[in-house]
């Protein structure tokens, strides 16, 4: 008896089969089938037209290099848009974060209201912002820059105010005891602790902006997206291919440089 008992202890006990897990799986499969029926999604269509996909892809794989001369200025415009959008948005986010950090502004009514406003701004997607600004300031890069600025604001403000709230409160106390005023406390006790984070978040927002700005042109907000749309409309896939390769190169390069710089900052 004892020996068998020992054996059962030695071998890995079998996991108990749970009927509930099976029910979940059935529920998911049924849900998937039902929702494809309801939305009339047909996976077949994707595979039926796979030949066309391959055809477009092959055409794109033979990029029209002579078109590069036209692409580069617009790529540069896209990057400029991203830079301007990042700078404007970050400056706004910098000031705003200081106003909503509860360890700096003690008035809960002020921080509460400002946070609600921030959250509303953050929920608007970038393409919608682009469309709104195209309607306000007209077609062109200015609309794109404004849309990117608001996006940057949304990203940076959230990360930055949270960083401010997690700083060591000791130096704030020390500066208060020294007789410093609010601004001096911010400059001497708060900013030295969070500036590297701020720069890092701006770079992160810049990475996102470069990617976002390539699409913004699609709705007339300036940048390379405009050509993307034009070439796709006339089925000139070799040109589209050139644009996509150029975009990929730029995005990869900027992502790499930016993430390396952020790593170096955090040391």
């Amino acid at each position: 008896m004892s020996s068998t008992e020992e054996e059962t202890l030695m071998t890995l006990p079998k996991k108990k089969f749970k009927i509930l897990n099976l029910l979940w799986i059935i529920l998911f499969v049924v849900g998937l089938v039902v929702s494809t029926k309801v939305t009339k999604t047909s996976l077949g269509a994707l595979f039926a037209n796979f030949g066309q996909f391959a055809d477009i892809f092959l055409q794109m794989l033979h990029p029209n290099w002579s078109y590069l001369g036209a692409v580069i200025p617009l790529i540069l415009e896209t990057i400029k848009m991203a830079i301007l959008g990042t700078v404007i948005g970050s400056i706004l986010a910098f000031v705003y974060s200081l106003l909503i950090a509860r360890n700096i502004v003690k008035n809960k009514a002020v921080t509460g209201i400002l946070r609600v406003i921030m959250n509303i701004i953050r929920t608007v997607p970038d393409l919608l912002l682009g469309a709104i600004f195209v309607a306000i300031v007209g077609i062109g890069p200015v609309a794109g820059i404004l849309a990117l600025a608001i996006c940057t604001f949304g990203i940076v403000v959230k990360l930055f105010y949270e960083a401010i709230e997690t700083i060591d409160p000791g130096p704030i106390e020390a500066l208060t005891a020294v007789g410093a005023n609010k601004l001096q406390i911010i400059v001497f006790a708060v900013l030295p602790q969070v500036m590297t984070y701020f720069i890092s978040y701006c770079l992160y927002a810049f990475e996102i902006n470069v990617r976002a700005s390539t699409v913004l042109g699609y709705i007339g907000a300036g940048g390379i997206g405009l050509y993307l749309q034009e070439t796709l409309q006339v089925f000139d896939y070799p040109k589209t291919g050139t644009i996509i390769i150029a975009i990929i190169l730029v995005v990869v390069l900027i992502d790499y440089v930016s993430s390396k710089s952020r790593e170096a900052l955090m040391k």
Partner: protein, 257 residues
């Protein structure tokens, strides 16, 4: 000690502090500290030592009573007036409270911030004299070679001495030290206490220290104040204080009321 020539620099009058609704921090404290004194406040954790010290420069607002600094009420002071009074009171903290990512020099210079208008200090426009003053202060605590080192690269004892240099640069009349040695080893603790004594003897600053360690209190203190459960239960010259008094101050472990 009530010499007619000595001026009171800190006066607490019927000071009461209640946390929340009914947690008593301090009850009816009356205390006068004169110019040039070296006072140690002893007592158990939670006895109200920290509350007492922090109410002096109003890092904590008291509930009732009044506190006078050189005859001026800090309890009623507002804005610039309050900052001016604070500028005259240096503070040393248990956790040093340096800006760790900033250089030692910048940390020491923050002691002067109260003397500058906002825009000048914000742009880092410290005068040559003040930079020299900061450097002199670092020399006095033997850290002159660390001027441009980042504060977080220093040991705990060195960081506390940077904090002392900061106070020296601030050049106040009063120094409050809240458990300045609690996070240091015994040897470093003595060094820090010696530096505080130097501030008292060489620069004539009035020093008030919260201490845990009875040994350090006995070695350095000139006047002892015993605090228990938010009340001053002993006040006398160190030379006249018998060992039993400390036992009394530290008896009755539970601070619950």
């Amino acid at each position: 000690m009530a010499d007619s020539a000595v001026k009171p620099v800190i006066e607490l009058k019927n000071v009461k502090k209640v946390y929340g609704k009914d947690v008593v921090g301090l009850k009816d404290i009356n205390l006068t500290i004169n110019k040039g004194e070296f006072v140690v406040i002893v007592g158990l954790s939670g006895a109200g030592k920290s509350t007492l010290l922090r109410s002096i420069n109003r890092l904590i607002d008291i509930t009732e009573g009044d506190i006078l600094i050189n005859g001026e009420s800090i309890t009623k002071a507002k804005g610039k007036e309050l900052r001016m009074l604070r500028r005259n009171i240096g503070m040393i903290f248990q956790s040093f409270n340096l800006v760790k990512r900033s250089s030692v020099l910048r940390n020491v210079l923050t002691g002067r911030v109260g003397y500058y208008p906002t825009w000048k200090s914000t742009l880092n426009l410290f005068t040559k004299e003040d930079k020299q003053r900061a450097y002199d202060a670092l020399q006095q605590v033997d850290l002159a070679d660390k001027v441009y080192t980042r504060a977080d690269e220093l040991s705990g004892g060195q960081q506390q001495r940077v904090a002392i240099a900061r106070v020296l640069t601030q050049d106040p009349d009063i120094i409050l030290a809240d458990e300045p040695t609690a996070s240091l080893d015994p040897q470093t603790s003595r060094r820090v206490m010696q530096d505080l004594r130097m501030l008292n003897e060489k620069h004539g600053m009035t020093v008030v220290i919260n201490l845990h360690s009875v040994e350090l209190a006995q070695e350095f203190g000139k006047r002892v104040i015993g605090v228990r459960a938010g009340e001053i239960i002993y006040d006398g010259k160190m030379s006249e204080t018998p060992k039993e008094t400390f036992d009394q101050i530290y008896s009755g472990g539970d601070q619950d009321e």
